[in-house]
C-alpha cells in the first residue's frame, strides 16, 4: 500500500516529516518498505500485515498516525446533494446468498459526464501507482485507496431490468471477467448477476465483467459498494488464481459499516467531477449486520502478559484513538493506577481482528511503545538437556574431521531417476505431488544420492580431491506413512595424500575408507565387516558394516548399519564421475546408542609389567584364504600369551607362485606373570606354524 503523505494530511494534521512518520509507524506495527520522494511529494511504502485490512486505505493509516501522535482524526461524513427521485425506485437488489455477501448497497446517478479526471485526482492516483481511466472509474479507485473499501461502478443502462441478484455460481457456470479471460466458476463463488439472475455481470468482491462496464458513452451510473465474506473470497481468489485489489481487501475482512459511507463518498466525488444528479437514498440490503462486540481488558492481565505497568491514561488514549471506546467499569474507578482496573471496550466495525483481551493488550502495547517494557533475563527453573545423541554425534564429528572429512549439507530434493540408482529394492520413495521441477521431484531415499552429487559438483569445478561427510536424513514411505532416518554419508575421491615436499601422492582406496570407518567404529566397540553391500557398489570392492556389540535384542535387527565401497563403474558412468569414487552410508541411530552404551562398561586395564615379544611369520597362502582365517587359526590354539595378530605386508608376483600370495604376519606375545623365555616363544611359534600349515596349507617362507 502506497501511502501518499499529503493525502494522509487530509485526515490528520501530522507535523512529523515523512521519514519520521514512517519510522514511528514501523515501531507501532505498520511495516515500512521505504519512503520515496516523487513528483507528487513523499510516498511511504506500507507493507500492511494480513490481519490489518483497515490499514489498506489512507484513512486507516491516518488513524494509526493520530493514535501515535495523539492528534485528532478527521472523520469521513460525505453529504452529497440528493435529487427528488428515489434510488429505491430506480434499482432493485436481491441477495440470495447472504452467507457470501453480508451487505450490498446501490446508489444511482443520472446524467453524469464521463471525462478525464482533473489533475489533482490523476496525481494522487499516479502517486499510488494506479493508472487514470476516466473520472467515474477513477473515483471508485480513489475511494478504495482513501477509505480502504473497494467499490464497483456499472453502466446503469446496461444492467438488465435495473436489478441486481447476488447468488452462488451455478454448476458449470463460466464468465468472462474485465480482463477478457473466461473463467470456470464453482458453487462457492459469489456472483453478481442482473435481471432474472441468469446473466453474471461480476464475480462478487473480486472483479467485474465487461458487459456492464463504464465507457465514455455512459450516462447513468450504478454504484455498488458491498461486503463479502472474507474466507469465501480467499477461497474463490485462490480457486480462480485471480488476486485483485478488491479480493485482497475483502479477503482480509473489509469494514461492513464502511460500505455505505464509501458509496456516499463516491457519489459526492462523482457529483463534483462528473455532474449529474444523485438519486435520493440508497438501496441497502444488509443481512449480515451484527451488533458490536464488547470485551474487557484488565490491568492484571496487562501485567501478566507484558510484565510492566502501563498508566491508565495511556491505556485509555491508545484504545480510544483506535476506536475501542474504553470505559472503566471496576469498583476502583477514579483511582489512578489501580491494580483492579478494568475497561470495557467496543469492537469497532473495522477491527474484526480484535476480539479478545490479548488483542486489546497488543493494541495498547504497540501504541504505548514496546521499548517501554524493560527487558530482563528470566531465571531457568530446570536443567537443560542436549539431544540424546549429542555426545555421540560430537565424538563422531571430531573423528571424521580429524580424519580429513569436510561436512556438507544438501537439499534432499532429487530427480526420481537419480534416486533410483541408489535405492534399495522394495523401498518406496517420498514423491512430491507439487515439485518445482522434475529435477527435484522426490525426497532422497538414501544419503548417497546427494553425496554423489556433491562429489560431481566438485569434480566439475576442478576440485579433484574431496573427502566429505553429511549427517542428515533419508526419507521413505511405507504406505501413507513417512519415515525419516538419520544417516551418516561419506564420500571420497581423488588422492588420499597429495604430492608434497616430503610425501609422494597416493590415491584414496577402499582400504582408506575401511580404515576411516573402523576409526569411527572404535567409539562403539568396533564394526564388523561382512561380504555384501549394495548393488550400486563395485562387486569386488564393497562390504556391509555391522555393529560388533549387540546392545539389546531390539537392536539386533539394527546391527546392520549400512554399506561401504567403491561406486560401481556403470553408476559412475551414468553420473559422469570420471574417477574412482568411494561411498558409505550408515544408519546412525543404532551407532549413537551403542557409543553411549559402550562407554559405561569400559574399565582400565593395568599396563603390562613385563616386556612383549614380536615374531614375524612370512607365509604363502592360496588366493581366497582370508586374513581372518589366519587369525582364527592362530587364536584357536588357545595361547593366552598372544596379545595381537597383525598383517604387516602383503604381496603377489615375483617369487610368489601364481594362485598364491605372501603375507607377513606379526604376532605379539605378552605375559602378565613373567618375562617370556626364548623356549616359550619358540614353542608358541612352532605351534603357530604347524597350525597354519595344517589348517590353511600355508607354507613358511624363508625370512
Amino acid at each position: 500500500m502506497k501511502v501518499v503523505y499529503n493525502w494522509l494530511k487530509d485526515f490528520v494534521d501530522v507535523a512529523a516529516s515523512p521519514q519520521e512518520l514512517a519510522s514511528r509507524l514501523a515501531l507501532s506495527g505498520t511495516n515500512i518498505g521505504g519512503v520515496e520522494n516523487g513528483a507528487h511529494g513523499a510516498v511511504i511504502e506500507a507493507e500492511v500485515s494480513s490481519n490489518r485490512p483497515d490499514c489498506l486505505g489512507h484513512h486507516g493509516i491516518a488513524r494509526e498516525a493520530a493514535a501515535i501522535y495523539k492528534l485528532p482524526l478527521k472523520h469521513v461524513s460525505p453529504k452529497p446533494v440528493e435529487g427528488q427521485a428515489k434510488a429505491g425506485d430506480a434499482v432493485k437488489v436481491e441477495i440470495q446468498s447472504p452467507e457470501l455477501c453480508g451487505r450490498f448497497t446501490a446508489r444511482v446517478m443520472r446524467n453524469v459526464k464521463i471525462q478525464p479526471s482533473p489533475k489533482w485526482l490523476k496525481d494522487r492516483l499516479e502517486a499510488s501507482g494506479v493508472a487514470s481511466i476516466s473520472n467515474v472509474v477513477d473515483v471508485s479507485n480513489y475511494v478504495m485507496l482513501e477509505l480502504g473499501h473497494p467499490l464497483h461502478t456499472f453502466d446503469y443502462d446496461k444492467v438488465r431490468d435495473h436489478k441486481i441478484v447476488v447468488r452462488r455460481a451455478k454448476p458449470g457456470e463460466k464468465m468472462r471477467t474485465l480482463d477478457g479471460i473466461e473463467r470456470q466458476l464453482d458453487s462457492n463463488i459469489c456472483m453478481i448477476s442482473d435481471g432474472d439472475g441468469s446473466r453474471a455481470v461480476g464475480i462478487g468482491g473480486i472483479m467485474g465483467g465487461g458487459e456492464t462496464e463504464i465507457s465514455f458513452s455512459t450516462k447513468n451510473v450504478l454504484i455498488e459498494c458491498a461486503w463479502f465474506e472474507p474466507v469465501a473470497i480467499r477461497r474463490a481468489a485462490r480457486f480462480l488464481k485471480l488476486h485483485t485489489e478488491a479480493s485482497t481487501r475483502f479477503g482480509r475482512g473489509a469494514d461492513p459499516e464502511m460500505a455505505e459511507i464509501a458509496s456516499r463518498r463516491a457519489a459526492e466525488l462523482i457529483l463534483q467531477l462528473a455532474g449529474g444528479e444523485l438519486l435520493a437514498g440508497v438501496v441497502d440490503i444488509y443481512p449480515g449486520k451484527r451488533a458490536a462486540k464488547t470485551m474487557r481488558v484488565t490491568r492484571a492481565e496487562i501485567l501478566r502478559v507484558m510484565g510492566a505497568e502501563v498508566p491508565d491514561k495511556e491505556v485509555e488514549a491508545s484504545l480510544g484513538a483506535l476506536g475501542f471506546a474504553p470505559v472503566r467499569i471496576d469498583q476502583n474507578r477514579g483511582a489512578e493506577g489501580s491494580l483492579l482496573a478494568a475497561w470495557e471496550c467496543t469492537q469497532p466495525s473495522w477491527r474484526a481482528d480484535v476480539e479478545r483481551e490479548i488483542d486489546l493488550i497488543e493494541e495498547i502495547a504497540r501504541i504505548y511503545g514496546l521499548h517501554k517494557f524493560p527487558p530482563r533475563l528470566p531465571a531457568a527453573r530446570q536443567g537443560a538437556a542436549r539431544l540424546p545423541h549429542y555426545e555421540a554425534e560430537t565424538r563422531l564429528r571430531e573423528r571424521l574431521i580429524g580424519l580429513g572429512y569436510r561436512e556438507i549439507l544438501t537439499i534432499p530434493h532429487v530427480a526420481e531417476e537419480r534416486d533410483a540408482l541408489f535405492r534399495p529394492e522394495g523401498i518406496t520413495p517420498a514423491r512430491l505431488s507439487n515439485p518445482l521441477s522434475e529435477e527435484a521431484n522426490v525426497l532422497r531415499s538414501t544419503g548417497t544420492v546427494t553425496m554423489a552429487a556433491a562429489l560431481e559438483w566438485n569434480l566439475n569445478h576442478g576440485q579433484r580431491n574431496a573427502r566429505l561427510f553429511e549427517i542428515g536424513r533419508h526419507y521413505r514411505l511405507n504406505g501413507s506413512e513417512s519415515f525419516e532416518t538419520r544417516v551418516l554419508t561419506i564420500g571420497a575421491t581423488g588422492e588420499a595424500r597429495e604430492k608434497g615436499l616430503y610425501d609422494s601422492a597416493r590415491d584414496f582406496s577402499l582400504a582408506d575408507l575401511k580404515g576411516d570407518l573402523d576409526s569411527i567404529g572404535e567409539l562403539c566397540g568396533g564394526f564388523r565387516w561382512a561380504d555384501g553391500g549394495a548393488e550400486w557398489l563395485h562387486a569386488a570392492r564393497r562390504g556391509a558394516v555391522r555393529l560388533n556389540t549387540i546392545i539389546s535384542s531390539e537392536a539386533r535387527n539394527l546391527s546392520s548399519l549400512g554399506v561401504a565401497g567403491q561406486l560401481a563403474r556403470r553408476v559412475a558412468e551414468r553420473l559422469k564421475l570420471r574417477q574412482d569414487v568411494f561411498l558409505a552410508e550408515l544408519e546412525i541411530d543404532a551407532f549413537y546408542d551403542t557409543v553411549r552404551i559402550a562407554k559405561n562398561p569400559r574399565r582400565y586395564e593395568p599396563l603390562p609389567r613385563f616386556p612383549s615379544v614380536e615374531r614375524d611369520f612370512s607365509v604363502l597362502l592360496a588366493d581366497g584364504t582370508k586374513f581372518s582365517d589366519v587369525t582364527k587359526t592362530i587364536q584357536s590354539l588357545g595361547i593366552g600369551e598372544i596379545h595381537s595378530i597383525e598383517a604387516t605386508d602383503l604381496f603377489r608376483g615375483k617369487s610368489v607362485p601364481a594362485g598364491k600370495y605372501s603375507l607377513l604376519v606379526r604376532v605379539t606375545f605378552q605375559s602378565r606373570e613373567a618375562t617370556l623365555t626364548e623356549a616359550q616363544i619358540n614353542d608358541f611359534s612352532g605351534r603357530i606354524v604347524g597350525a597354519l600349515g595344517k589348517q590353511l596349507g600355508a607354507q613358511l617362507r624363508a625370512q
Binding site: 490481519n51 485462490r238 490479548i358 502495547a365 530482563r376 561436512e407 549439507l409 515439485p435 556433491a454
Partner: protein, 389 residues
C-alpha cells in the same frame, strides 16, 4: 686402541708414563698416601685433556680413552691397581677409584653439552631448515558453516536453560498450520508455499514438508507440561524458486519458553541476551510490532547493523551495503505465544504464558560472514568448505 697414556697425535707421551698398564708394586707404591698422589696425577692428566676445546668426535675419543670398556684408563686401573692391590692398600685404592670415576663421568657429561653447542653453532647453512617452507600438513576436515552457526546458537540458549529437541521434517497440516492457529484459507498460508507428498489414495492425512520449525512447539507442549524451554534446530522447506536469497530448503531454530509467569519483558530480555552473545555487546536491538497467527503480541526483531555500527554509512563513506542505509537489520519474527495455541495442547491459557521465536540460520550466516548467495551452502564446493575451518 686409544689410551690417554699412549702416544696419540700431539699428546705423545713416552711409554714409560703409561702407568695404568703397570701394577702398583711395579710402580713402587706401598703406602696409602702414595696412592692418593698417584690418583691426583691421573686426575690432573684427565683435567688437562678435558679442558681443551672439544667437538663431538674428539669428545668421543676422550670418553673412549678414559671410560672405554675394554681398554679405557679406568678399566686398566681397576684391573692393574685395584684387583692386584695388596690387602692393606685395597681400601684406599677403592675409594680413590670411585672418586676418580665420579669425576670423569660428571666432567664428560658437562663437556658433552659444550661439544653439542659448539656443533650447533658450526652447522653449515646447507643443513639449516628453511622455515618459510611448509611443514607436513595432515588433511583435516571441517564443520559446515551452517552447522557452526547452529552450534553457536544452541550453546547460547543451552547456557540459559533451553533444551534441544528435534522433530520430523515431513509433517501433517495439523501441526504445521491448524494447531498453530492457521486454519485453511488463512492469508498467511499464501506466504508459505508448501510442498506436499504424493500419497496413495485413502491416506489418513495429507503430508507436507514443514514450512517452519514451529510444529515442534505443538509437539513439545503435547508431550510436556510447563515449564517448557526448548530450541528446535532443523531444516524447513518452502516452495520458492531458487535464487541468490531463496532456497527451497533452508534452516531454522525455533525457540519456545512457556511457564506460569513468563512476560513480554522476559521475552525481550532473552532475545537481547542471545543477540549480544552472538553479535557482540555493542549491538543495539529493537522490537517492532508485527503479525503471526500463533503469537500475540507478535514482533519483528531488528539489530543495529553490525557492519556500519548502526549508522547506515559504510566505513569508506557511502551507503552501507548490508543494511542499505537503514542502520537496522531485520533478524527474525517472534512473540508471546497466542492463547489460542494453548487450546490445541490442553494448557490452561489463563495460567500459562510464554514466548516463541524462529531464527533463519542461513540468513544469519550470510549476514555474519558476508555471503551473497545462499546456494553456496548447498553446493558444497570444497573451496567454500575450506574457508570456514
Amino acid at each position: 686402541m686409544l689410551s690417554p697414556f699412549k702416544a696419540t697425535g700431539t699428546d705423545a707421551m713416552s711409554s714409560s708414563d703409561n702407568k695404568p698398564e703397570r701394577t702398583l708394586a711395579d710402580l713402587g707404591v706401598t703406602q696409602p698416601d702414595q696412592v692418593v698422589s698417584l690418583f691426583a696425577e691421573v686426575r690432573a692428566r684427565f683435567d688437562s685433556q678435558a679442558s681443551r676445546p672439544l667437538d663431538h668426535p674428539s669428545w668421543e675419543i676422550l670418553r673412549q680413552s678414559w671410560l672405554g670398556r675394554k681398554s679405557g684408563a679406568l678399566t686398566l686401573i681397576t684391573e692393574n691397581w685395584l684387583k692386584a692391590a695388596s690387602p692393606d692398600l685395597k681400601r684406599s685404592v677403592g675409594q680413590e677409584l670411585n672418586k676418580l670415576k665420579a669425576h670423569l663421568e660428571t666432567t664428560l657429561d658437562e663437556r658433552k653439552l659444550d661439544a653439542q653447542s659448539l656443533a650447533d653453532h658450526s652447522v653449515s647453512i646447507r643443513e639449516r631448515v628453511d622455515l618459510s617452507l611448509p611443514g607436513v600438513i595432515r588433511p583435516i576436515g571441517s564443520h559446515h558453516l551452517i552447522r557452526q552457526v547452529f552450534q553457536e546458537i544452541e550453546d547460547i540458549f543451552f547456557s540459559i536453560g533451553f533444551s534441544v529437541v528435534e522433530g520430523p521434517e515431513i509433517e501433517t497440516p495439523y501441526y504445521n498450520f491448524e494447531a498453530l492457529n492457521i486454519p485453511e484459507f488463512h492469508p498467511v498460508r499464501d506466504d508459505m508455499d508448501t510442498f506436499y507428498l504424493d500419497l496413495p489414495k485413502g491416506a489418513k492425512t495429507p503430508l507436507l514438508l514443514r514450512t517452519h520449525t514451529s510444529p515442534m512447539q505443538i509437539r513439545t507442549m503435547e508431550k510436556q507440561k510447563p515449564p517448557v524451554r526448548v530450541i528446535v534446530p532443523g531444516k524447513v522447506y518452502r516452495r520458492d524458486n531458487p535464487d541468490a536469497t531463496h532456497s527451497f530448503a533452508f534452516h531454522q531454530i525455533e525457540g519456545l519458553a512457556v511457564d506460569t509467569d513468563i512476560t513480554f519483558c522476559d521475552f525481550t530480555g532473552t532475545i537481547e541476551y542471545f543477540v549480544k552473545q552472538f553479535f557482540g555487546p555493542s549491538v543495539k536491538t529493537r522490537f517492532r510490532p508485527s503479525y503471526f497467527p500463533f503469537t500475540e503480541p507478535s514482533v519483528e526483531f531488528d539489530v543495529s547493523c553490525p557492519f556500519c555500527g548502526g549508522t547506515g554509512t559504510a566505513s569508506g563513506g557511502g551507503t552501507c551495503s548490508k543494511c542499505k542505509g537503514a542502520a537496522w537489520i531485520e533478524l527474525f519474527g517472534a512473540g508471546m505465544v497466542d492463547p489460542a495455541v494453548y487450546g490445541f495442547v490442553n494448557y490452561d491459557a489463563k495460567k500459562t504464558s510464554g514466548f516463541a521465536f524462529g531464527i533463519g540460520i542461513d540468513r544469519l550466516a550470510m549476514l555474519k560472514y558476508g555471503i551473497d548467495d545462499i546456494q553456496v551452502f548447498f553446493q558444497n564446493d570444497v573451496r567454500f568448505l575450506r574457508q570456514f575451518p
